[in-house]
Amino acid sequence: MFKKLIVIVLVLMVPAGFLFANGGSGAESSNLMVIITPDKDNTFFTAEADAAKAMAESLGYETLMVVHGDDPNAESDIIDTAISQKAVAIIIDIANADASPNNLRRATDAGIPVFCMDREINVAGIAKAQLISDNFQGAQLGGEYFVELMGEKGNWVELVGKESDTNAGVRSQGYHSIIDQYPDMKMVARETANWSQTEAFADVESILQANPDVKGIICGNDTMALGAQAAAEAAGKGDIIVMGFDGNDNVLDSMLQGKIAGTVMQPNALNAEMAVQLADKFIKTGSTGMDQEKILNGCFLIKPSDADKWRGFKKL
């Protein structure tokens, strides 16, 4: 509760500071792109925010960077700020698939075009464009590689991400759509570790005590994979096959050291850059020029031999 309170107060402070600084009114000819992401601590989201910001600034826009902490109420307040600031566009990685469409609709009703990146909304016609990583396809790639490394058999564990995040469920279903077709693959534990490295460490530590014969651990994201691998190593089981998802630099380094077995690279920076580029095009021409709202960008399987070819979610 206290943590939630802090988040909300912090988020409200942002508009407060802005309003005081600008005397409470948005400029008539605003040049402001409001870029909204979930989290300041996860490198996945900071890379996304950085890529959007860099692209926006290179196209001559001012930016306001805000995080909603996966809280739809905080997101709602940020949208109000964007409206009062007369933002030219909102670039957002949404808080919640169920609640966010109503928040975003207020922005579009106020004449501010909205562009989604990463997480998708299922209501058509609100966002001008949605740039989405194909999480399901990516999870299938990861699942196939995991099965291959396991030799199509053995005991395995799944670590699932935060339940409120659609992508946690999408990836889990993607994994299962592949792995469950192999009758000799036996899932002995499935825990949510909320995208967290420390929770993953604790979960795997206790799972391995109860199940000494675990051969592989597949994780819904890379931070959990790092926690899982560390826990396996601490238990003297460094040879357990650990798969991640995202493609963050720490995991790529771990793969180069022969620890984590593989990950799935999300076109995270590309999604963010394309969202801003399409916003820019829409602002200038009144159209994104795309014939569809949802644009699905494919993920890539990264094996250890490819781990040095990517950094910052971009191909070198």
């Binding site: 409200l12 569809q292 949802k294």
Partner: protein, 227 residues
């Protein structure tokens, strides 16, 4: 649905009132009914996209006719790709823009089965196209595990934006693969397929940096020809 609890609610109200006079609090629990107006949903009926029914509606009437019309001879295609990859892609491929583009080819072939390999649950047959030289020149996946989304991605009329979300789009790929298995694989006895002559329509995906040797064809139609 979350609602504001007491102290949090009061503090939020005070902050909103003091700082952002224009701020309105929207209750998350409030469901707006979706009309047929500007904001239509992908799931208008509330039951969501029905992949199996959709596959049923397109399989015979749209999908197979497109393959029969557009599929290119496998050997002709591979020869073209080997000679000049980009030209082959431009002439025969469907380019899918998804970040890094990938290419889908619809193919047809007549070949002799050299080997049925079920060492993996993703079983394959290796076949030798005419003129038969005793060397396998193509790989077709025959399951029971079927990988990938080649059938779904092979036709322009199936678009992600029209289907809905990732789960529904993935479900569609699975249902297409399932339909193919039921129609084309299940009737065949794979155990004695080696040595037989087959005719197939199928598709494969080629990624930007992928070697041609790694191509695996997903059949759409697979028939054993009478000797």
């Amino acid at each position: 649905m979350r609602r504001y609890s007491g102290p949090l609610f009061i503090i939020t109200i005070i902050l909103c009132t003091l700082i952002i006079s224009a701020c309105t609090i929207v209750k998350i629990g409030e469901e707006e009914t979706e009309g047929d107006g500007e904001y239509s949903t992908w799931t208008k009926t509330g039951t969501g996209f029905q992949a199996r029914e959709y596959v049923e509606s397109i399989w015979e009437d749209k999908l197979i006719p497109i393959y029969e019309e557009q599929a290119v001879d496998y050997v002709t295609l591979m020869t073209a790709l080997e000679e000049n990859r980009q030209a082959g892609i431009d002439q025969y491929g469907l380019t899918r823009q998804t970040g890094e583009p990938f290419y889908i080819f619809k193919v047809r072939g007549t070949a002799r089965v050299m080997e049925f390999d079920d060492s993996s649950r993703n079983g394959v047959i290796r076949v030798d196209h005419e003129p038969v030289d005793g060397v396998a020149d193509a790989v077709l996946q025959v399951g029971p595990v079927l990988r990938g989304t080649a059938i779904r991605d092979s036709v322009e009329f199936i678009r992600f934006t029209d289907i809905g979300n990732q789960l529904q789009f993935a479900e569609l790929a699975k249902e297409l693969n399932n339909r193919m298995r039921v129609d084309s694989i299940d009737p065949i006895n794979l155990e004695n397929i080696e040595g037989k002559q087959i005719m197939f329509l199928g598709a494969f995906r080629l990624d930007k940096d992928q070697e041609l040797e790694e191509v695996v064809v997903t059949p759409l139609v697979l028939e054993i020809r009478p000797e």
